[in-house]
Amino acid sequence: MLKVEGLTKVFSNGKGIRDVSFTVNKGEVFGFLGPNGAGKSTTIRHIMGFMKPDKGSAAIQGLDTWKVQGTVQKHVGYLPGEIAFIDEMTGKSFLNFMLAMQGIKDTAKRDRLIERLQFDVSTPIRKMSKGMKQKVGIVAAFMHSPEVIILDEPTSGLDPLMQRVFIDLVLEEKAAGTTFLMSSHSFPEIERTCDRAAIIKEGILVTVKNIHELQSMQRKLFEVVFADTADADRFAASGMQVEAREGNMVRVAVQGNYNDFTRETGKYNIRSMDVSTQNLEDIFMNYYDREGAMQ
């Protein structure tokens, strides 16, 4: 359905993407993970045909997106990373305009999406908050029922409730056979929807793995606060990978060995427990390190 082959583009400042290759199958939700500035958006811009690759190609349904402009877009929905519409329009006039550009008269799906995402379409775009613009962008990407939907950081700016709605939407479309490519710098976002994911770092594709493999590779930091300092001492000495210790609080890293962790913590009187949020590099720290050592 979507194929990226040896895609290379180096900008004058030396940044860019090098030899990126992956395939997204029909009906699959494919995650594209990487820290900010890793080359996610650059890859997506090539897939959308906005840039000419130095080497390699990107194709949707076998059509080269740089060479064939104007036909492939009929099958594609796109949500750009930076939402910017034409200021003078309202949400409604923008969506109507986009439907007309797609050559579609049926507004039923658009109206259903607007209702699901709950926003006021008559607001002028320049008065909209970031989250509201994001919703308009999501409606624009979904409303013409494309076969492939490409989303660049889709949930940025959405509140947790709306993130939930968005995930449901993706899962429904997936069940209907829609193919997705979605980029993100947050693993939890990808985890809930994707079948497979690619990790990109500094313009190089580090790995493409199915989501379960990635889940087992990720590293979580638990902050456990014990009722008793002596318990904290004993826990810290139990062989778990201790990252930090502050009084009764012990921060341990867990990677796959959840059973060991629950067994150990089960022995003591726990006052509170928390999972600390980490950035992508930290989550896949070992993975990145190993790759680094191999090069």
Partner: protein, 271 residues
């Protein structure tokens, strides 16, 4: 071209274009309304102007004479005010139609629909041309209306065909300048840069023309500016080679628009 995009872009820009068109129409009517008062005393005014340095008169179109209405407005309106209005329209609109959409990222939505870049760029070029046609059309009509209304259709000298020629050349001059601004806009990723460069080119042309007219020594400068092809004073007195000027301006305009569209079709867009 893409009709949906064309209609939408016209709708978005309609208010601004109409403001300029009606501003221009109002101004030309005002000038014509003034003319009868001046037309009765042309001799005194001509003497006054003859007393001024030749260059100043040339630069501001005062030597066109005041004995006909179109001569008067050719100097007082077509020589400066209209040129300024259309320069601003060209620079501003060409930037808004392409560079701004690229800079802000809205172009991504247009290109994510089943249309080609060539069609998008061509449509935007047509929107700019339409704006110029509307402004010049309204201005020309206002000129004829003013003649019928204030000059009572023939009481004062008014040569309609030369007035029409002057409007045609003015339109084509800005078709060419719009084309150049559009080319700059198509090549830019940055809205402010596009605005700055096309502004500098347009007002640079204007300044060179002014300098060439004021000083005989800098006469050579006139070969560096498109405004040389637009001489309202000579058109109304019948001494300009209108056809030649029109041909050159049309060719420059078409060339610049085509180059802009082709450049936009082939380049990387930071969307």
């Amino acid at each position: 071209m893409n009709l949906t995009l064309y209609k939408e872009m016209l709708r978005v820009n309609l208010k601004g274009v109409m403001n300029y068109a009606f501003g221009s129409a109002f101004y030309i009517l005002f000038m014509i309304w003034l003319y009868p008062g001046i037309g009765k005393n042309t001799k005194a005014i001509d003497e006054l102007i003859a007393a001024m340095p030749q260059g100043v008169g040339n630069a501001f179109g005062l030597n066109n004479g005041f004995s006909s209405a179109e001569g008067f407005i050719s100097g007082e309106y077509y020589g400066l005010i209209l040129v300024l209005i259309l320069s601003i329209v060209c620079v501003q609109m060409s930037t808004q139609l392409v560079a701004r959409l690229v800079d802000r990222g809205s172009m991504a939505y247009l290109l994510a629909t089943p249309t080609t870049r060539q069609k998008v760029a061509l449509t935007q070029a047509l929107v700019l041309t339409t704006a110029l046609v509307v402004i010049m059309g309204v201005t020309t009509l206002a000129g004829f209306a003013g003649n019928a209304w204030f000059l009572h259709g023939g009481e004062y000298a008014f040569n309609g065909s030369r007035f029409l020629q002057m409007n045609t050349v003015a339109f084509l001059l800005f078709f060419a300048i719009g084309g150049i601004s559009f080319l700059v806009s198509c090549a830019s990723n940055d809205e402010k840069k596009a605005l700055g460069i096309s502004g500098a080119i347009t007002f640079g042309f204007f300044t060179l023309d002014l300098l060439a007219k004021i000083s005989g020594q800098m006469d050579g400068l006139r070969f560096l500016t498109l405004f040389t092809l637009y001489k309202p004073g000579e058109i109304v007195s019948g001494s300009a080679s209108v056809l030649q000027a029109c041909t050159v301006l049309v060719l420059i305009g078409l060339l610049a628009f085509t180059l802009g569209i082709q450049l936009f079709r082939r380049r990387d867009l930071p969307l």
